[in-house]
Chain length 163, copies 2
């Protein structure tokens, strides 16, 4: 059984993209939602790396495709992809990243390297539990959790040591 590839470590990234696109097709098909060319292209662009992309980065990339899109085009595609759990928005960066666990019910939990900017998405159920419990203790009905940790990934910690 293969391990989840770590963003900051060399891996066959083509496989990440292929997997993401295949998942997207399956998920949209199951949900009777339309993964149109624009939506698929935006998803593919997001998956070009494990670094979050801003909406205007995507807009620029579409422009390079020859697709002269306006902001709503990108935001609409992103809304769709988020609704179907294919991408996540990183609130602390105003940027978007591919969902590493598409199709699984989960609360996104992100480790964001401030040096290389790669993002690792964890599932960490016990963290989710601790958070939910803390909310419940206050009588609060949690609906949506934003959990983003900025810091240094293992690779960039070593880099830092050589400075």
């Amino acid at each position: 059984m293969s391990q989840t590839p770590l963003p900051y470590r060399p891996h066959n990234h083509r496989a990440c993209v292929d997997q993401a696109l295949a998942d997207a097709h399956r998920i949209c098909n199951d949900a009777k939602a339309r993964l149109t060319p624009t939506r698929e292209r935006v998803l593919e662009l997001i998956w070009q790396s494990h670094k979050p992309l801003g909406a205007y980065d995507l807009l620029g990339a579409l422009a390079q495709d020859g697709h002269n899109a306006a902001p709503p085009t990108v935001y609409r595609a992103l809304d769709f992809l988020q609704q179907h759990g294919l991408v996540h928005r990183i609130a602390s960066l105003n940027a978007f990243v591919g969902c590493a666990h598409a199709g699984h019910r989960h609360t996104g939990f992100f480790l964001i390297c401030r040096a290389c900017r790669n993002v690792l998405e964890l599932s960490a159920p016990h963290v989710a539990e601790a958070v939910d419990q803390a909310a419940q203790d206050e009588g609060f009905a949690a609906e949506d959790t934003t959990l983003e940790i900025a810091g240094l990934c293992p690779a960039c910690q070593q880099e830092g040591g050589h400075e």
Copy 2:
């Protein structure tokens, strides 16, 4: 010993403001930092309620004071207040809220009611521990944690039940 007032429940809010301003004076004094009139006024405005305020809300409020300030004025005051742990930025709202535990080392952890928009800041050390542990398990050096839970506060859950 008095309890921490809950944002969504009636309380003598004047006391919250007074406490926040007194803490701010003490903290800035200890740090040899200058709590100038603009900075103090921004802090006071933020504490007018437990609802986060946007930078441009603050700008408008300053304008009503007769202070014709430009955006950098507000952002600079907010930067200062954040650096001294007197306010927090809520990334998911692009807005700012007074710090409920000024002077104590802590990781902000916010319960945000989507109905009344009040925000309760928790300390929840065991959550912070679970998060740090999860990061460490990945070899990640956590520096800054953003943890924001959107949902319904106890008061607004009851409201909702009557709909």
